[in-house]
């Protein structure tokens, strides 16, 4: 063997050993410092959806700031992936007449004036810029002739404003964020479920979470926490388009430490959920021209929104669908009642290019090929406008120093009583960025003021709770309580509400809470105990469901998504205010805060 060959072979063998060592590195869902208890994060983000990842990217721009994203699943399984239609921002690529001001007006009107107009103005200014940033980050935006990203018109928008990636825009946003997080080497604390935010006397200590893999209760000290855990749509269990994970964990954790739950009653029902299981057919269906038809084939939106027709805002369209069903002009009965969404007049090429996911979902779950037949649809719980009370939209701060909130779990409030389609993706990115920057700046100027002993005590309490609840061999099952909760929420606190129904729901929820207190988890293993996870999630949903009912009872008017049959009119005199539900003893108390009105004075909405 020549010397050169010898060296070549030697080098190859060396490289193989090095590569082998790299690949053999086991990896962990948790950074070593967290497990050993020596970690102290400057910015700890809970939730790995669009808001959480965007916050992490922004916070990590500050030098010397230690950032991590905690998530109860693997990082890319969040609700953000499910957003379909697009991401709003007045970038003016497609419609040069658009502007942040018009976007703001559409948003305020869509919100039925229950949003803070200063926050909305900030959001629309920032979201116009955000789209270009996203493009620069590598998102797969569909293009127009001049090479810029194309924008489509979504419900309630005056102009074509939503940049999009076919009908998987949220997936595109989330994976672009994940790519950036990998590039920036952001720490993920994966498969760890938030159990508690520990804060006493206004001082944040950190969080307690359960490591799903080992079942170990972890305490993670942090100078700041950004809650980005998503919405609470699973309070309606099957009648929702949300993922199983949308259980409002962060909102419940904040509620427990005295941060109010703002506008909880503002739950958006999306008009086009599949009749059989609530899975969403994207609003881009209607954006691309799909018609809503009743059982006699009539485009019934002419009755409710003669100008906007199918492109009215979601609350209006959804309530119209429900009215058709109630008037006997739907198909099917009971929970399976529906109307039609008809695509047959749309060119097949457009469907294939821009609505392929919609076509697949209808085929899969309803056995309907939208090329040939209309799909049966009905309202489905889609979005939580309410959430953690953010007191400063420029920082996303809550009333407790060091705790921030962004994304669907927060209520800033931009969406008021009804969110417009394609506003949520830009909202999560704009306010994720804002929260990330603010938390990092705060952490930089502050020492750790928490109490690690309190964290340890909380860990011990959770260990006892785990042992106690998983040991039970009697009591109701988590699934049974959950299904009963969903039934009463859908029937009594759903698309249409009234005093009697809400009272009924309140009583039901109290009974269910009592059952929950003695229910059985059914799995006592510490390893990957998803049954315990579901048990914790149900506890959160019961609390938040009660919040929805409280807010709904107190708001004696109809506004946006909150439609009271006993108070069908909007009442600006008494209710142009945010509902604030907070903990008082074992129960809740209700307070109000006036809405910030800017240049757009409340008028009646017409579409």
């Amino acid at each position: 063997m020549s010397r050169r060959t010898f060296l070549k072979v030697g080098a190859a063998a060396g490289a193989a050993v090095v590569a082998g060592a790299y690949f053999a590195w086991p990896g962990s869902n948790i950074p070593e410092a967290v497990r050993s208890g020596s970690a102290l994060y400057d910015v700890l983000i809970i939730g790995s959806g669009g808001a959480g990842m965007r916050a992490a990217l922004e916070a990590s721009k500050q030098k010397g700031i230690k950032v991590a994203v905690m998530t109860k699943m693997a990082p890319t399984r969040s609700a953000t992936t499910m957003a379909q239609g697009g991401i709003n921002g007045a970038a003016r690529n497609t419609d040069t007449k658009d502007s942040p001001e018009i976007h703001a007006f559409d948003t305020v009107k869509g919100a039925d004036y229950l949003c803070d107009q200063d926050a909305v103005a900030y959001y629309t200014e920032e979201s116009a810029k955000m789209l270009f940033e996203l493009d620069y980050s590598g998102i797969a935006f569909n293009r127009q002739e001049d090479g810029r990203f194309h924008q489509r018109k979504m419900g309630g928008s005056s102009y074509a404003r939503a940049a999009y990636s076919a009908d998987i825009s949220g997936h595109a946003v989330l994976h672009t964020m994940f790519e950036q997080c990998l590039k920036e080497n952001i720490d993920f604390i994966s498969e760890c479920q938030l159990l508690e935010i520990v804060a006493m006397n206004g001082k944040l200590s950190g969080v307690v979470a359960v490591d799903m893999r080992s079942g170990e209760m972890l305490s993670v000290p942090a100078k700041t926490v950004i809650v980005a855990t998503g919405g609470y749509g699973r309070a309606y269990w099957v009648r929702t388009s949300n993922p199983y994970s949308s259980t409002g964990d962060g909102i419940a954790a904040c509620l427990n430490i005295g941060i109010p739950f703002k506008d909880p009653e503002m739950v958006q029902f999306h008009p086009t959920g599949l009749a059989s299981n609530g899975v969403l057919l994207s609003e881009s269906s209607r954006s691309e021209g799909a018609h809503l038809l009743n059982s006699s084939g009539e485009r019934f939106m002419a009755r409710y929104a003669p100008k906007a027709m199918e492109l009215g805002p979601r609350d209006l369209v959804c309530q119209s669908v429900e009215k058709e069903i109630l008037a006997g002009r739907g198909i099917g009965e009971g929970l399976k009642a529906a109307v039609y969404l008809d695509f047959r007049h749309i060119p097949k090429a457009i469907i294939q290019e821009r609505l392929f996911q919609v076509r697949q979902l209808a085929l899969q779950f309803e056995g309907v090929d939208i090329f040939d037949a209309p799909a049966p649809i009905r309202g489905t719980c889609h979005y939580s406008m309410g959430g953690i009370d953010v007191v400063d939209y420029k920082t996303c701060a809550t009333k407790i120093a060091g705790i921030y909130a962004a994304g669907e779990c927060s209520c800033i409030s931009v969406h008021g009583a009804n969110r417009l389609g394609a506003n949520s993706l830009s909202e999560v990115l704009v306010f994720g960025k804002t929260a990330g920057a603010a938390a990092a700046a705060y952490a930089k100027g502050a020492g750790y003021e928490g109490d690690k002993e309190k964290l340890k005590a909380a860990v011990a309490a959770w260990n006892r709770k785990f042992d106690e609840t998983t040991k039970r061999s009697q009591g109701a099952s988590v699934a049974m309580i959950r299904d009963k909760m969903a039934m009463t929420m859908w029937n009594n606190a759903g698309i249409f509400r009234n005093e009697k129904g809400l009272r009924q729901a309140m009583g039901d929820m109290q009974e269910l809470q009592a059952m929950y207190n003695t229910c059985q988890v059914g799995d006592s293993s510490r390893t990957c105990n998803t049954a315990f996870m579901n048990y914790i999630e149900l506890g959160n949903l019961l609390r938040l469901g009660k919040g929805i009912i409280y807010g709904g009872l107190a708001r004696k008017e109809s506004r946006g998504s909150h439609s009271r049959t006993d108070f069908p009119q909007r009442d600006d005199k008494n209710f142009l205010q945010h509902t604030l539900i907070s903990k008082e003893g074992d129960g809740f108390k209700t307070e109000y805060r006036p809405v910030m009105i800017g240049q757009y004075k409340p008028v009646e909405r017409k579409y």
């Binding site: 690949f23 693997a74 399984r77 620069y136 980050s137 590598g138 990998l182 994966s190 697949q360 059914g522």
Partner: protein
């Protein structure tokens, strides 16, 4: 109808198969069945799921040894396909199992970082004005952006099964190919180099990844495209590319392979290690080192086909 699901269980050190019998309801998916079992029969059954509409990638499992998304796979279809009332469900292959059907993604993310998985925008673009790209350029990579990180391709990959230490997971190649094909990216080589280093030429081309991807991506095809890109980018050669070039040169020159020279062209001096094999081949008359290979009769036709293929940039 009633069916039996044989589910592979795993907890700690223990591995077993457990049977569950349940009624199939109309429209019931594999995920629907797993949930029904967990909620009504056995709360300890462990799996992951989130969106239940085929977009989050959390619920991929193996049914009768084939990776599927549990949330989109109808039991009725499976029963028909396999003509049986019994199905087996197991965790994805080529992953470490954490418990039952739940697998460990963490090492995959660590490996994903190797191919520089983020756009490196060209200098003419900016964060304030975005990028420019034609509709055709967009189409070149948009399919690859549809990967949901479900792991179906990994589970089915025969090369990963054989040895994953020198081979990145199929979806990672698709991710790299996305950036290579994206006209907004300024440096394809930065994504190609690690791909070459970690197995680009080691794919067995079995096409299982393409067959099993629930989103219709084809990592195998992406690997082919990136191999071509390494030639276009005139990247330094390696055994894989030399082997391909040896085939190419032989076919162009002779219209067939000259096997006597193949090892030499592919491996260079390292082929000296093959001498014992060559010696045995010679002794049994299967290799004649003195034979001068001659072009086949229709060599011009072969060359014309190759020229056409090259110009069309297949």
């Amino acid at each position: 109808m009633a069916i039996t699901l044989k589910i592979q269980r795993f907890l700690g050190e223990k591995k077993w198969e457990q049977e569950y019998r349940l009624e199939v309801e109309t429209g019931m998916t594999v995920l629907g069945a797993l949930i029904k079992i967990k909620e009504t029969m056995d709360p300890t059954l462990t799996f992951t799921a989130s969106c239940r509409s085929s977009i989050c990638g959390a619920c991929a499992v193996k049914v009768n040894d084939n990776a599927v998304l549990a949330c989109e796979t109808l039991l009725a279809d499976l029963l028909k396909r396999y003509a049986s009332d019994t199905l087996t469900i197991a965790p994805l292959g080529n992953f470490t199992v954490l418990r039952d059907l739940m697998v460990d993604w963490q090492p995959k993310y660590d490996r994903l970082k190797k191919i520089k998985p983020a756009l490196q925008p060209k200098t003419e673009f900016s964060a304030s004005e975005g990028c420019r790209q034609s509709k055709d350029e967009f189409k070149k990579y948009s399919k690859n952006s549809e990967c949901i990180l479900c792991g179906s391709c990994v589970s089915e990959c025969n090369k990963s099964n054989l040895n994953s230490k020198d081979f990145l997971d199929p979806f990672i190649f698709s991710k790299a190919a996305k950036f290579v094909a994206d006209s907004r990216d300024k440096d394809a080589v930065a994504h190609l180099e690690p791909a070459v280093k970690d197995g680009l030429w080691k794919c067995l081309n079995c096409q299982e990844c393409a067959a099993k991807c629930p989103k219709g991506l084809s990592p195998a095809e992406d690997i082919e495209k990136m191999r071509i890109a390494t030639f276009e980018k005139k990247m330094s050669s390696n055994e894989g590319s030399d082997h391909a070039m040896a085939f190419y040169d032989d076919v162009k020159e002779l219209g067939r392979l000259d096997e006597a020279k193949l090892a030499l062209k592919t491996e260079g001096l390292k082929s000296a290690l093959r001498v014992p094999v060559a010696y045995r081949l010679m002794r049994s008359g299967k290799l004649n080192p003195l034979e001068q290979a001659k072009p086949i009769g229709d060599i011009e036709k072969v060359r014309a086909i190759m020229k056409a293929a090259k110009e069309k940039k297949l």
